[in-house]
């Protein structure tokens, strides 16, 4: 088997790397950039432009530049959070088959997996050029709280890009693997992953080569994009007051304000204040105006406080799920660009009573972990081979990955064993509208569990097994996943039939359901067709 690529497919940026016998090597773009914007442009002039080169089209023709596709991949377009996210984009999205969101570009319609496949294909091509060999295998990371449909859609994107997706792994787990690989120690860590579009927090135990997730939680619709939008809205209001012109109905202008907001946010991470003007605002009078702004870090923190509170609340909650207190945690890894914001680090330090670890590179650590897992699965990481990543910073001398340019340690490296978890409770509907749990949240995967159910009526020969995802005891308060029908059950008095329902979650976090009549052996197996998931092409 050849080299396998580890890919962090992000909302805003993506990053790819491979594990080689001498260390982790990042895949560079045409300008030697390690971090590739997850942008796919279909410019007026024709063709498809991906990554850093697509950035310039955001200002000239924002309606043809797809960004944040990860927010919509594998989603049901009718879901309220999706509708809300749609208000924040400047390209057109309509409802496609199976309620999936479909982007409309002039006469073309493209599904979200198709769009993401362009980003993956771009990374694949960069890697093939850099490594001078064809690449067909990859490990792709996804947010820990991604649903079944989102995982399926991400795999589909990989397939469309000509990649054999060996495994989907959760982003915080990848970060922990990158941090823990090669250290032989027993410790409890927290991974706080606050990226461009999603937020995850995981608690893990590192024990020798075992990387075990104890609990994981997050918010799929919370990320740096939201912070930018909060700031852009403020700038828009300011524009309305100062220039007497409301930019909100104008996509090009709002995109300009969003990009300005992003720049101001980044500036405020390094400085106490930001002052300047946003130029090139086309006014209805035909003039070109400019919008002055002056913002202190404290004002910005006030704007985003609600979002930050939410991340801290989720973090407290996940500790409770792991039956731990903040004092048990011996290191807190900051992953994702939004952890650069000082108030985020400050709040984390308060919660854990220790400085979070920001010596790791928050943009690259996930891809690095994916590359290690890809190397492990493809067998390119073998015992006796040291690994050292250039520029992966921290100090622990015995940890090969955290080695900054010093000689690579030699000696036996065991292949990592990832014990990841199922992010949400999976249940079936039972009489009375209750949700009967088959697989708990935070169960180790791959996993299989079987429970026996029975019929509710006399001579019932058919049961419908409705599956759902969520923590409520009431079926309708959870997210429906799909329904499996088992018929040809032998007619019996109610309560006599024995129907075995098995839930199996594979190592990618995808659910497979099986139902069988214990006596006749009649069985139905389903790969649930979930709303928003890509439609199986026959």
């Amino acid at each position: 088997m050849g080299v396998a690529l580890g890919i962090d497919l992000g909302t805003t940026n993506s990053c790819a790397a491979v594990a080689t016998p001498t260390g982790v090597e990042f895949i560079l773009g045409s300008r030697a950039e390690r971090v590739h914007p997850s942008l796919v442009a279909f410019p007026q002039a024709g063709g498809v432009v991906v990554g850093a080169d697509a950035k310039r089209f955001r200002l000239t023709e924002p309606q043809h530049v797809i960004h944040s596709a990860k927010r919509f991949i594998g989603q049901n377009i009718r879901a309220p959070m999706v509708q809300l996210a749609l208000t924040g984009i400047r390209y057109k999205v309509i409802e496609g088959p199976n309620q999936q969101p479909v982007a409309v570009l002039r006469d073309r319609r493209m599904t979200m997996p198709e769009i993401s496949s362009h980003v993956l294909l771009h990374l694949k091509r960069c890697a093939e050029r850099q490594l001078a060999q064809p690449i067909s295998d990859a490990v792709i990371t996804v947010p820990a709280n991604f649903t079944d449909a989102q995982r399926q859609a991400t795999k589909e994107a990989g397939r469309l890009a000509g990649l054999q997706v060996m495994r989907l792994i959760n982003e915080p787990t990848a970060a922990a693997l990158s941090y823990g690989f090669g250290r032989d120690r027993d410790q409890l860590i927290a991974v706080f992953d606050f990226g461009g579009g999603t937020f995850d927090v995981s608690i893990l135990r590192l024990q020798g080569e075992i990387v075990e997730v104890l609990a994981s939680d997050g918010d799929f619709f919370l990320g740096g994009d939201d912070l930018d939008r909060a700031l852009a809205e403020t700038l828009a209001a300011e524009c309305n007051t100062v220039l007497n012109f409301d930019p909100r109905p104008h996509p090009v202008l709002m995109m300009k304000l969003m990009m300005g907001a992003e720049a101001i946010k980044c500036h405020l991470s390094e400085n106490d204040g930001a002052e300047g003007e946003i130029d090139g605002i086309d006014l209805p009078t035909g003039e070109v105006g400019s919008l002055p702004f002056s913002l202190s870090r404290a004002q910005f923190e006030g704007l985003i406080e609600g979002y930050i509170n939410r991340t801290i609340e989720v973090t407290r909650n996940v500790l409770v799920q792991a039956h731990l207190t903040p004092q048990h945690i011996s290191d807190v890894l900051c992953v994702g660009g939004s952890t650069r914001i000082p108030i985020v680090r400050q709040r984390l330090a308060e919660l854990f009573d220790r400085e979070p670890n920001y010596r790791i590179n928050p943009d690259e650590v996930v891809a690095q972990g994916a590359a290690i897992q890809a190397g492990s699965l493809s067998g390119s990481i073998i015992a006796g081979t040291g690994m050292g990543a250039r520029d992966a910073v921290p100090t622990e001398a015995h940890s090969p990955l955290l080695f900054g340019g010093a000689p690579v340690p030699q000696g036996e490296l065991k292949r990592p064993v990832l014990l990841d978890v199922n992010p949400a409770t999976l249940s079936i509907q039972t009489a009375g509208g209750y949700a009967e749990r088959l697989l708990d949240k935070n169960s180790p995967i791959p996993i299989e569990r079987t429970r026996v159910f029975t019929t509710a009526r006399d001579n019932q020969t058919r049961v419908e097994i409705a599956c759902c995802r969520g923590e409520s005891r009431r079926y309708e308060e959870n997210e429906p996943l799909g329904t499996l029908v088992l018929d040809e059950i032998p007619a019996k008095p109610r309560g006599d039939a024995k129907i075995e329902v098995s839930f199996r979650v594979d190592a990618d976090g995808i659910l497979h359901v099986r139902a069988a009549d214990a006596e006749s052996g009649a069985a139905q197996e389903a790969h649930l067709q979930v709303f928003g998931a890509p439609v199986e092409s026959a």
């Binding site: 409770v320 180790p444 996993i447 299989e448």
Partner: protein
């Protein structure tokens, strides 16, 4: 394959043994005694994962063998989860420390705190008391919630939580 734990033949023997036990109680799948503690279950599961995790055997096995191994591993993971989701056994009351009043002002609750919670929950409960003494109601609420997570059955803890939360609301 020596570095990745266990040779293929012995791993496949294990997988066949487990597959034959489909439907057996959790401790039989984990091959530990019925009265094993959560700690012992975790150790057993980790030991299995180190040797038999399907990811370690992608190269050494045929597709059918890998499928059988994955199925056996998934059954054992299910058994481990069964252990994890069982409530922790409560400690005998005689060994637990004496009860302490829960709020700064109110009278000591009639229930004997230590009789009604597990040793782990008691640890958090003690931390809650310390927080209350400092006047830090928010931390106290958190600690009590942690105690409840450790011992969801305890009515005493729930009552304490309601009491502190109502005080916090004032």
């Amino acid at each position: 394959m020596s570095a990745s734990g266990g040779n293929s033949a012995s791993v496949m023997m294990w997988a066949q043994r487990i597959a034959a036990k489909r439907g057996a109680p959790a401790h039989e799948l984990l091959e530990i005694r019925a009265t094993a503690t959560m700690d012992e279950a975790q150790k057993a599961f980790h030991k299995i994962a180190r040797v038999a995790h399907p990811d370690l055997h992608r190269a050494g096995l045929s597709e059918d063998e890998l499928e059988l191994l994955t199925a056996a591993y998934a059954l054992v993971a299910g058994a481990y989860q069964t252990f994890r989701s069982q409530p922790a056994p409560a400690v005998p009351a005689a060994r637990a420390p004496a009860p302490v009043p829960v709020t700064r002002s109110g009278p000591a609750p009639a229930t004997n705190a230590s009789q009604s919670m597990s040793s782990k929950a008691l640890l958090y409960y003690r931390k809650a008391e310390l927080a209350l003494k400092r006047g830090d109601l928010k931390s106290a609420v958190l600690q009590i919630k942690l105690a409840i997570a450790a011992d969801p059955q305890s009515a005493f803890l729930r009552a304490a939580l309601t009491e502190i939360e109502s005080e916090l609301a004032r």
